[in-house]
Amino acid sequence: MELLRGALTVAWKDVRLELRSREVIASALVFGLIVVVVFNFGLNRSPGSLEPVAPGLLWVAYAFIGVLAMNRAFTRELENGGMDGLLLAPVSRDAVFLGKMLGSLAFMLVIEAILLPVFAVMLDLPTLSPALGLVILLATVGFATVGTFFSGIAVQTRSREILLPILFFPVVVPVIIAAVEASALALQSGPMTGVWTRWLPLLIVFDALYLVICPWIFGYVFEG
């Protein structure tokens, strides 16, 4: 219960700060729109030509947007030594981690929800399905968990903007692959058996792994 109280307190603080400044969501949205426009003009848009690559483009864009959003989430803690304030408090490091992760997850889901219809129109994505929504949710949980962990480490270094993607992408590759494959199946008109039997369980397994390992190591990294 204390873990949840601490986590929600940290997450709500991040949401409140974002509502005030709109730094993360505004910059990530602008970046996302630029990516869509570039893809739209940069690729051959003959009928049906984008269908095979659309899921990949969607997740490349989401991954880069995620890095941008998560980098900012921890940079905010550097401003006046906020991270020290969190570490001084009698809440577990798990709660701090979970709070930061929930904040990043909320920002990313909002950004993804706004951009998805834009992607659908610009990239000629077929009908959006509830299965795609579930894939996005599960993959974003994985992104936010790994991203929060590496963002917390990278933010302590001078080359944080470079370090985060270098650390983040190799570890999150299984989630990206599963998300792309599941999205491809979810967006096609055929049967979606593979989504439910293979890719969603894989996403759930990786999310669970990340959710156990990342807070655990985070606790050691930030223990003084």
Partner: protein, 239 residues
């Protein structure tokens, strides 16, 4: 002693550190610091720039891990996972630990929730009044002057009624009136049986506040004197 959510044992020192060592690469910042500070004491730590004052305070607060040695606050270990012992400490350092886009009150509400303070609303109004910030309570931190931010940082440090207060150059950036307010607060603090350890470069301010002065030099406590008494022979003078 004023009651807190974690009542300390008066038989053990408020702050007890033994053999604290800390290296930054090849440079030894602390070379075996031993320290014992009792309840109701205001101890002032002097030392030149780079003497290791901030490092020592951060280790005592549980923010920096010592390479060797032990730290106990009110008998509870801080050198291992501090956990509940962190509730006993109030810390104000060079940075304010405040969020610029939240108001003064919102910052304190956030910390009150993190510390699980009951009756937080009243307590927040109390510390705001104590730091003469009641009329700025709804202003965002970024709109406050440096001195006001520093006072708000003090309010944050004492919000949860810790029994040990660690302050790193608390007087820097404050006007004379605020320094006097801080001095009053520290006297009340010690009067209620709680303990404060602070660093300063101002000998005037430090000596005026101190029950005890310590001088950190070459990574060790080289002088330890009760205020008003001569400093230990051979020790470096406060800087």
């Amino acid at each position: 002693m004023r009651a807190t959510s974690e009542s300390p044992d008066p038989a053990v020192p408020a702050i007890a550190a033994a053999g604290i060592r800390k290296d930054y690469g090849d440079r030894a910042a602390l070379r075996g610091v031993d320290l014992s500070i009792g309840w109701g004491e205001i101890a002032v730590l002097f030392g030149a720039n780079g003497a290791g004052k901030t490092t020592l305070l951060r280790i005592l607060a549980g923010l920096t891990r010592a390479d060797d040695g032990t730290v106990h606050l009110a008998g509870r270990p801080m050198h291992r996972r501090g956990g509940r012992a962190r509730r006993l400490v109030g810390f104000a350092g060079h940075q304010t630990l405040l969020y610029n886009d939240l108001t003064c009150r919102e910052n304190l509400e956030f910390y009150a929730k993190l510390y699980g303070i009951s009756g937080a609303k009243d307590r927040i109004e109390q510390v705001l009044a104590q730091m003469n910030l009641s009329d700025r309570a709804n202003r965002r931190v970024r709109t406050l002057s440096h001195g006001m931010q520093k006072r708000l940082s003090m309010a944050r440090a004492i919000l949860h009624q810790p029994v040990v207060l660690l302050l790193d150059e608390p007087e820097s950036g404050l006007d004379a009136e605020s320094v006097a307010t801080l001095g009053d607060l520290l006297r009340d603090w010690a009067g209620s049986g709680r303990t404060a350890l602070l660093t300063t470069h101002s000998a005037d301010v430090g000596l005026a506040w101190a029950d005890r002065t310590l001088t950190l030099s070459n990574g060790r406590i080289e002088a330890d004197a009760v205020a008003g008494s001569p400093i230990t022979a051979g020790a470096a003078a406060p800087q």
